[in-house]
């Protein structure tokens, strides 16, 4: 498959270009990767993963803890490697994995958390050292009583998808390699039951139906497998690339030009399926291919593979939570092999239902028949709908409405919505006319909505309603922040109140869903009134925005971060990705109840 290889090479080259030539020194938090956990009620375990080529000084650790009633004992530091130092005499250094046990006592058993700060010093073999670097951790003592730490718990629960606990996923990576890969496969399976995967079904079915007149079960399965493999490749490559670059990958892939290009591909494929033009090969070639139809063709397989690649990019933001967790880990550890494998496994898990679609498409489909044309047109229409859906974040609502209305009305006409039924019409004709009329009415509603200045795509005629000021929910009062300094000022100004910081961008679909379905909920709004609400609009993605995201180790919106009444971030309570109101209310309650 030379084309597939070419595509792969392209994908791999992009991050290489981006990396630049200069030898790179790791940021201190990547060179000395830090984690802390409570072992029991009197000891904390600190671990450092020291990158190859870097070392830390044994006698340069300083530990402090808050609140004041927490007393730290003497840290148990393992033996280091001894060196003769011309100035200090003998010094001990650490390389590789380092584990430190830090005993503590606390007077007040009621304090729910310990804020730990560790200052350390280290150097790199290339001949530089780092200024003393502070790592901080918030350890929840309460979690000891309830067994596993809170952030680990939701990963395999049924509702794990929306919980979006990035810390939990990062924690998972500390387990063994195969366990991680297997977990991510399972996670992908769970994800496949969310609507995230649904957009892929029509694409895949379209690919299979459009692939030829004789689709066997095996061929369908094989096509689906190639498609899923393409998708998984993208996830693996994207994960590794983002890890290496620390870039806001999903932002790059969500820029209007890229999405516009996808939409254009969909429109082109849709038009072919609708029979506007013929994507078929010359007869001579076609008959040759017909002979080989039982086997896979290189070119065709490459096409299906690249469709898989493209589709994965589109649904990426939908699976933001697991992706953010994995990317967070990869970028910190630079363990690109494990990170890439985990994402690959996740995508394979997401692809299992698609394989079923592939197999069933082959099984359900008779060899040929006029009804195939209908199915093809149906998928063509769906592809057009996908194209509109894709570009909708960049279009004003009235334009979206107009596009939907055009699609619906034209579809309705094709379904003979306004042709009279013949006297002896059979069930299918009647049914399709019914569907056509529904489409026609919906299309007309959208047309009227577009012309009357409707502003809600889900309620196209709401523009016509006599305005009732009581029922229109007012805008959620977010204060905008654009930089780290501004954020600090706002947090200071909100002293004594819990602060919520929401990362938002125009292109971020789940941010909009969050706004429409979750923030508008009365229970959510009631809790919002007790907190200070900040929003960072990072649509422009300038240097300030990048710094702000980096500060919170986020790769991009969606992401919601909470700060306690004293202005410190509440660790382990982030919300990444869409969350329905019920779950979000629970998170808000936790944030509001978080006191030291």
């Amino acid at each position: 498959m030379p084309i597939a290889r070419f595509l792969l090479a392209l994908l791999l080259i992009v991050p290489a270009f981006a990396r630049g030539a200069e030898p790179e020194l790791l940021e201190p938090d990547k060179a000395f990767r830090f984690a802390a956990r409570l072992v029991d009620e009197r000891s904390i375990e600190l671990s450092y993963q020291i990158a190859p080529g870097y070392y830390m000084y044994r006698d340069r650790f300083r530990f402090t803890a808050a609140p004041a009633d927490v007393r730290l004992g003497d840290a148990r530091l393992p033996e280091g490697k001894r060196h003769r130092d011309e100035f200090f005499g003998e010094v001990e250094t650490y390389r590789g994995a380092l584990r430190i046990v830090l005993p503590f006592e606390r007077a007040d058993a009621g304090a729910p958390a310990i804020a730990l700060s560790v200052v350390s010093q280290g150097c790199a073999d290339v001949g530089v050292c780092y200024v003393p670097y502070e790592h901080r951790a918030e350890l929840k003592v309460a979690s000891l009583v309830s067994g596993p730490t809170r952030s680990d718990a939701p990963l395999f629960g049924g509702t794990a998808l929306a919980a979006g606990s990035d810390e939990g996923i990062a924690a998972l990576f500390r387990a063994g390699f195969w366990l991680v890969v297997a977990s991510f496969f399972g996670f992908g399976l769970l994800l496949s039951f969310t609507p995230c995967v649904l957009p892929m079904v029509p694409i895949l079915s379209g690919v299979i139906v459009g692939s030829g007149h004789r689709v066997t079960r095996t061929k369908g399965l094989l096509l689906a497998a190639i498609y899923v493999f393409g998708m998984a490749m993208t996830y693996a490559v994207a994960g590794v690339a983002a890890g290496l670059s620390g870039a806001m990958l999903s932002a790059a892939l969500q820029n209007p030009w890229v999405v516009g290009a996808f939409a254009a591909v969909f429109v082109a494929l849709a038009l072919a399926m609708l029979g506007v033009y013929d994507l078929q090969l010359p007869v001579a070639l076609q008959s040759r291919f017909a002979l080989e139809s039982s086997r896979m063709h290189g070119g065709h397989a490459a096409g299906v593979f690249s469709m898989g690649v493209l589709s994965a990019l589109i649904v990426g933001p939908c699976v933001a939570a697991p992706l953010a967790g994995a990317l967070l880990y990869i970028s910190q550890s630079r363990d690109v092999v494990l990170g890439g494998s985990a994402l690959f496994a996740m995508a394979l898990g997401m692809g299992v239902p698609l394989l079923a679609v592939g197999a069933s498409a082959g099984a359900l489909m008779p060899k040929a028949g006029p009804w195939m044309e209908t199915v093809k047109r149906g998928f063509g229409t769906l592809l057009l709908g996908m194209a509109i859906y894709l570009v909708s974040p960049f279009l004003p609502v009235s334009v979206q409405m107009f596009l939907w209305s055009a699609l619906l009305i034209v579809t309705a006409i094709y379904l003979r919505a306004i042709d009279p039924l013949p006297a002896g019409a059979h069930g299918f004709q009647r049914f399709s006319k019914g569907v056509g009329i529904l489409a026609l009415i919906a299309g007309l509603a959208y047309l009227v909505g577009a012309l009357s200045g409707g502003r809600d795509i889900l309620q196209p005629l709401s523009g016509l309603r006599v305005t009732d000021p009581g029922s229109v929910p007012s805008e959620t009062p977010f204060a905008r922040v654009a930089s780290g300094a501004e954020l600090d000022d706002r947090i200071r100004a909100a002293a004594g109140r819990t602060v919520m910081l929401d990362f938002y961008a125009d292109w971020c679909v789940s941010c909009k869903e969050m706004e429409r379905y979750t923030f508008s909920d009365e229970r959510v709004r009631a809790r919002f009134r007790e907190m200070a609400l900040l929003q960072a609009d990072v649509t422009a993605n300038n240097a300030e925005h990048a710094a702000l995201l980096k500060r919170f180790r986020l790769f991009g919106p969606p992401g919601i971060v909470f700060f306690d009444r004293e202005g410190r971030e509440i660790q382990g309570l982030r919300v990444i990705g869409f969350q329905p109101a019920e779950r979000f209310v629970a998170v808000l309650d936790q944030a509001l109840g978080f006191q030291r």
Partner: protein, 179 residues
């Protein structure tokens, strides 16, 4: 089918190029300081209050008008110590022509004093605190690397920033045109 595959390859190529370009722009933007911000940061370094080895408050302002080599270092940082004898030699050689090294130590005062005696440091040493580290980051040393050396001309304009150890030949090439 070939036609479709070729079309898709073309789209992929365009996408890859666009993603690469977008990343390039983005990463350039995130690298931070524009030249004006940088000049302001250097100005803050000159004006910041630092403490000398006797505990008295000082500022780098007092040495304005000379060619300054501002060296961030620490005694516990072996690569930092290695270049100090070079600095001492060069201070000896070019001091009369207006060159002045200034060492800003991220360290404990007693260690710095002991080191200064032992290595016969013949230029001013001051102690940097948390704010010095912050300023160090603002002049572009985001990772907080030591040693880190700034070369400023007589007007206080930044001529060069050198992360890591610096070689004698390179340092001479930087300062000789300024003297």
């Amino acid at each position: 089918m070939k036609a479709r595959a070729v079309g898709i390859v073309a789209v992929m190529a365009a996408l890859s190029a666009a993603a690469g370009a977008a990343y390039h722009l983005w990463s350039r933007g995130s690298d931070g300081a524009s030249s004006r911000d940088l000049a302001e940061a250097v100005e803050r370094v000159l004006q910041a209050r630092v403490v000398d080895l006797q505990g008295a408050s000082q500022s780098l302002q007092q040495w304005r008008g000379r060619v300054l080599v501002v060296n961030y270092w620490a005694t516990w940082c072996a690569p930092c110590r290695e270049e100090i004898p070079l600095f001492v030699r060069m201070q000896e050689r070019y001091g009369e022509r207006g060159l002045l090294f200034i060492g800003i130590a991220i360290d404990q005062p007693d260690k710095v004093a002991e080191f200064a005696r032992e290595f016969r440091v013949n230029y001013p040493l001051v102690l940097g605190g948390v704010d010095s580290i912050e300023l160090l980051r603002q002049v572009g040393n985001r990772a907080g690397v030591l040693p880190y050396t700034l070369v400023l001309d007589r007007k206080g304009n930044l001529v060069s920033r050198e992360p890591g150890g610096i070689k004698e030949a390179k340092l001479e090439k930087l300062i000789l045109p300024l003297l």
